[in-house]
């Protein structure tokens, strides 16, 4: 039993499951979810420059999600070791943000496949002008202008 509360509440590290070469991340939320991605995919996505994409984000195609209620998930987590800091830190941090956003959607009852497909995908309804007097086009909106008309609302 840990007695140091600061250690107890310190954010969990990423874990590395050597046998599968996957990185594990436990997202916060009403139900802790275990996300995983292969190290190869993390390396392939370096650097991830644009968080918002017009189609499924690369993370959405390479991320798996599991519950600690599953025996195999608990076993993988037990076999994993904390991941040492390295050149992939920035990408992993971005991936963790992606996982947190997916977790939010799942906890809002969105189906898993939809959450993975649509998280960090640009939606036209995000193009809201906040200043009526002088409309501004956000970076996201500028991207959306290039979207084919049939994909706009």
């Amino acid at each position: 039993m840990t007695t140091d509360s600061a250690t107890l509440t310190h954010p969990l590290p990423f874990f590395h499951h050597a046998a599968t070469r996957r990185v594990l991340y436990i997202a916060a939320g009403p139900c802790p979810l275990v996300f995983s991605i292969s190290l190869d995919d993390v390396g392939r996505h370096v650097p991830v420059v644009d968080a918002i994409n017009k189609t499924t984000h690369p993370f959405g195609r390479s991320t798996a999600v599991g519950s600690l209620a599953a025996d195999e998930v608990r076993r993988e987590l037990a076999d994993a070791k904390p991941l040492e800091p390295g050149p992939l830190d920035e990408t992993l941090s971005s991936w963790a943000n992606f996982c947190d956003d997916v977790a939010d959607r799942l906890n809002d009852d969105e189906p898993l496949a939809d959450a993975l497909d649509d998280t960090w995908v640009l939606c036209p309804e995000q193009d809201v002008a906040l200043d009526d007097d002088e409309p501004t086009i956000s970076a996201q909106a500028r991207v959306d202008v290039s979207t084919p008309p049939e994909r706009r609302l």
């Binding site: 039993m1 840990t2 007695t3 140091d4 509360s5 250690t7 107890l8 509440t9 310190h10 954010p11 969990l12 590290p13 996957r22 436990i26 916060a28 939320g29 009403p30 139900c31 802790p32 979810l33 275990v34 995983s36 798996a64 999600v65 599991g66 519950s67 600690l68 209620a69 599953a70 025996d71 195999e72 998930v73 608990r74 076993r75 993988e76 987590l77 037990a78 076999d79 994993a80 070791k81 904390p82 799942l106 906890n107 009852d109 898993l112």
Partner: protein
């Protein structure tokens, strides 16, 4: 890492047979889910408290019998892997539900920066000011 579980369903209690302890992973917006444990014999011993008031004058029985750990620790993750889902709590269900509430309250205090020992001693303890008419 796919499974047939509803991944957003509340996690069940787990049972670690070797240590005869029940485990619970606290929910909440914590950046670090906490793993709580209690000996099954203590759950049995406290079965009747599920029928009494939640707040106590002194340290709540759960506060003296609950362990807290982080999943960052290798032995904790290994211990969790050795558990099985605590199937049918039966007559212990009410007590375990109450213990879960205690753990959630404790987790919230720890996440707010309180030290572990005072949090264990004073969670669900009736303060004098709260007892005033």
């Amino acid at each position: 890492m796919t499974s047939t579980f509803d991944i957003t369903a509340p996690l069940p209690f787990f049972y670690h047979a070797a240590s005869e302890r029940v485990l619970y992973i606290a929910h909440g917006p914590s950046p670090s889910p906490l793993l709580f444990s209690i000996a099954l014999k203590d759950v049995v011993r406290h079965e009747l408290i599920a029928r009494g008031p939640v707040l106590m004058d002194t340290t709540h029985p759960f506060g003296t019998t609950t362990g807290v750990s982080s999943l960052a620790e290798n032995p904790v993750r290994r211990g969790l892997a050795d558990t099985e889902i605590f199937g049918e709590p039966g007559p212990l269900e009410d007590t375990l539900e109450l213990w879960r509430d205690f753990c959630d309250a404790l987790a919230e205090r720890l996440q707010n920066g309180e030290d572990l020992e005072p949090a264990l001693k004073t969670t669900w303890v009736l303060k004098q000011s709260e007892g005033a008419a």
